[in-house]
């Protein structure tokens, strides 16, 4: 029997949508079970993070805004997809170990766990976008039909996220070091991505190097959608690079996950 691949997992997903929904809802409730704040923490936590970054970089260090919009708008456009990306990868890494009882005692489709965490992150994402919308109104940044483009960038990021999620979650079953490494890697990745600093700030010779980072495509994409109103086909080189990379990660991740899946029950 050949081990399943990304396509097998993708093919089965529609049939598992009910399970994904329930698990995502559980995931959100689990996170704040026993707290007074409950769901409010889901929003308060990233909100405070944003306020801190904004105070430090805009008010304190006086980082210049990227275009003709206030710093906080540009920053939010980068931070919103980034938070989702980082949260999902973090959650995926420990996902299989956290559901050990399901893996060991039942036949459980572990491959849906990255999708579950992605779905669980959507709630926060929507609320953060609402915060962005409010700030756009406050600062007088106009809305436009181009805003809807963010959905495409969200989808693109999801594909990369699921691929990486498969790799990280599968390897973490055997090596718990992955979680430790990821914490550091995510931190470095954050600073390598133009979220708190504008890409234009960087000298030209570093630009090419930094552009290897696929998250630039996403972060710039959100800014293009909400601030610049640039159509996504204008940056087709960036898109091509991103999709080749994301597809490779997605295919490799699925293959690796399929190969290792059979040993999960033993290794946990």
């Amino acid at each position: 029997m050949t081990p399943p691949t990304s396509w097998t997992f993708l093919w089965r997903l529609p049939g598992q949508s009910g399970l994904v929904g329930v698990m995502a809802a559980q995931e959100m409730r689990k996170r704040y079970a026993g707290t007074l704040g409950g769901f409010a923490w889901t929003v308060l936590h990233p909100l405070m993070l944003i306020v801190i970054y904004w105070l430090v970089f805009s008010v304190g260090l006086r980082v210049p805004p990227a275009g003709n919009v206030p710093f906080v708008i540009g920053f939010l456009c980068g931070m919103i997809p980034w938070l989702m990306f980082a949260e999902t990868l973090n959650a995926c890494t420990s996902a299989i170990a956290a559901n050990a009882y399901l893996v060991k005692k039942t036949v459980f489709p572990t491959e849906i766990l990255p999708v579950v965490h992605l779905a669980a992150g959507m709630a926060t994402h929507v609320i953060m976008l609402a915060v962005l919308a409010v700030l756009m109104v406050v600062y007088g940044v106009g809305f436009s039909l181009w805003n809807v483009q963010f959905l495409y960038y969200l989808l693109a990021m999801s594909v990369l996220c699921i691929g990486l999620g498969w790799i990280l979650s599968a390897l973490n079953v055997f090596y718990r070091d992955i979680g430790q490494v990821l914490a550091i890697a995510i931190n470095m990745w954050f600073w390598l991505t133009p979220i708190v600093w504008p890409l234009a700030m960087l000298p030209g010779k570093f630009q090419a190097f930094v552009r290897l980072n696929p998250m630039i495509y996403i972060v710039q994409g959100y800014r293009d959608s909400f601030i610049e109103h640039v159509p996504l086909w204008q940056n087709w080189q960036g898109g091509a690079y991103f999709w080749i990379l994301a597809a490779a990660v997605f295919m490799f991740g699925g293959r690796l996950f399929g190969r290792l899946k059979g040993d999960f029950a033993e290794a946990i």
């Binding site: 399970l19 559980q26 399901l102 893996v103 005692k105 039942t106 029950a265 033993e266």
Partner: protein, 451 residues
């Protein structure tokens, strides 16, 4: 594979890889010459059997015999190292009841989650939920978080969920012995319904009466191999003999061998022989987990059980006459020798106990160097599968049972299997007879007369 075969296990072996350190797994992966850095533990070796559709098969074996691994392979939670497992029809892979339950969520949430894990469509889940709620019968606790449940409620809910979503093949692992009697009955009724519906059932249990009562066939595993496969009565007898005698080692050899001869064929020979050392441990029914104490002035050095023409059996028939010889050697003079024995269940309930004083037998003083052989005859008309027997030698200094000094007491020194012939409940097998004697009142309705 034949259509009538629900489960086919062909020459399946399963090895667990044990790594000394986590890094070894990585090193082994990357090693250019494929060096082996793990030890292998074989949980199953060359196991083969087929289960026809509609059969109810019991799987028994000691702890660590490979039962759970086998079930995990059948549920495809694990992959076999070699061989092939083929399962036709949907299995409800519930290896431990309520394994997937989250204590923070309500019973309803957990049950519907479990249904979804099993891949049931939404409509089916909506239809099943009220049935599960009714079967579990835990009242308003169904809407409470599981962490507030008593262990009984937990099991009721878990079993209710398992049995209602259970599809073509039901695997029951050590679960029916829980809950109160009423609920157990309900569970067994459900199992019977399953059988009637022609579904395949695998029952793993330490409750041998459940195996004998419900299964058409039993498989005995030991040391990862199939020791015995056939009629549940025969297989459970082999298992009991194995448990009490410990004859089948991890290699699984010698189960069917006759009681090991220790050079004494007859009563007379046993009585005459004066061993220099303790021979109890060489008996088939000896229990190494015995608890022994006494002041050491005398020692119980050997015993012999005879039953149904067999010497030194590990299993006896319920109700058959048992002759128990006990041999005691005295190191010092003892004024009022006294002997006793008692029979206990696995839970330590004393079923019977007596001694020479209670039997009104006064034994003359024993001198140092003498060996006394005493004999008890009794029957064990019991409905339990295992009994433990204590032997004791004492000095009845005060002339009463209460003020005797123990010389040598060997608690649980004998572990006997008991095979019942009567279908009944309880500990005691009293062989009740039943018949309808009379029917008074209006006559019976003729068949088919109503409606």
């Amino acid at each position: 594979m034949n259509d009538d075969i629900a489960i086919s296990v062909q020459d399946v072996s399963k090895a667990y890889r044990l790594y000394a350190a986590p890094k070894d797994r990585l090193v082994e992966w990357l090693h250019p010459f494929r060096r082996k850095l793990h030890r292998e533990f074989w949980a199953l070796r060359n196991v083969s059997f087929d289960v026809p559709r509609g059969a109810t098969v019991g799987i028994i074996g000691r702890n660590g015999s490979g039962k759970s691994t086998l079930l995990e392979l059948l549920c495809s939670v694990l992959r076999p190292t070699s061989g092939a497992v083929c399962v036709k029809g949907r299995v409800a892979p519930l290896l431990a009841l309520g394994a997937g339950f989250n204590p923070d969520f309500t019973g309803r949430d957990n049950v519907s989650f479990q249904c979804r894990v099993l891949g049931l469509p939404e409509g089916e889940i909506r239809r099943l939920l009220p049935q599960i709620e009714a079967f579990a019968d835990i009242g308003q606790f169904f809407e409470q978080p599981i962490k507030t449940y008593s262990s009984g409620m937990f099991v009721r809910l878990a079993f209710a969920a398992a049995i209602h979503v259970a599809p073509d093949i039901l695997i029951i692992d050590e679960v029916l012995a829980v809950g109160d009697a009423g609920f157990q009955r309900k569970c067994y009724q459900k199992v019977l319904d399953f059988q009637a519906a022609g579904k395949t059932i695998l029952l793993v249990s330490h409750d041998l009466s459940a195996i004998v009562g419900h299964c058409s066939r039993a498989i005995l595993l030991d040391g990862g191999r199939v020791i015995c496969d056939g009629d549940p009565n025969d297989v459970t007898n082999v298992y009991l003999e194995m448990l009490s005698g410990g004859r089948a080692g991890q290699d699984g050899a010698g189960v069917a061998a006759a009681p090991a001869p220790i050079g004494l064929a007859t009563d007379e020979a046993f009585i005459r022989d004066v061993p220099g050392e303790d021979r109890c441990a060489r008996r088939a029914s000896y229990n190494p987990g015995e608890h022994r104490y006494g002041d050491g002035r005398a020692g119980i050095v050997d015993y012999l059980i005879e039953c149904g023409g067999r010497q030194d059996p590990a299993v006896v028939d319920s109700g058959a006459t048992i002759v128990l010889h006990v041999k005691t050697t005295y190191c010092q003079d003892v004024g009022a020798p006294m002997f006793g024995f008692s029979v206990k269940t696995v839970d330590g309930v004393v079923l019977y106990g007596t001694n020479s004083l209670l039997q009104n037998v006064r034994i003359p003083p024993a001198r140092a160097g003498q060996t006394l052989v005493v004999k008890f005859s009794f029957t064990l008309p019991l409905n339990v599968h295992d009994v433990f027997i204590d032997l004791g030698a004492a000095d009845a200094v005060g002339g009463g049972v209460g003020d005797s000094i123990p010389l040598d007491r060997r608690y649980d020194v004998i572990h006997l299997g008991v095979v019942g012939r009567e279908n009944c409940s309880g500990l005691y097998s009293c062989g009740a007879a039943f018949e309808e004697v009379a029917r008074i009142g209006p006559p019976d309705a003729a068949p088919g007369a109503e409606g």
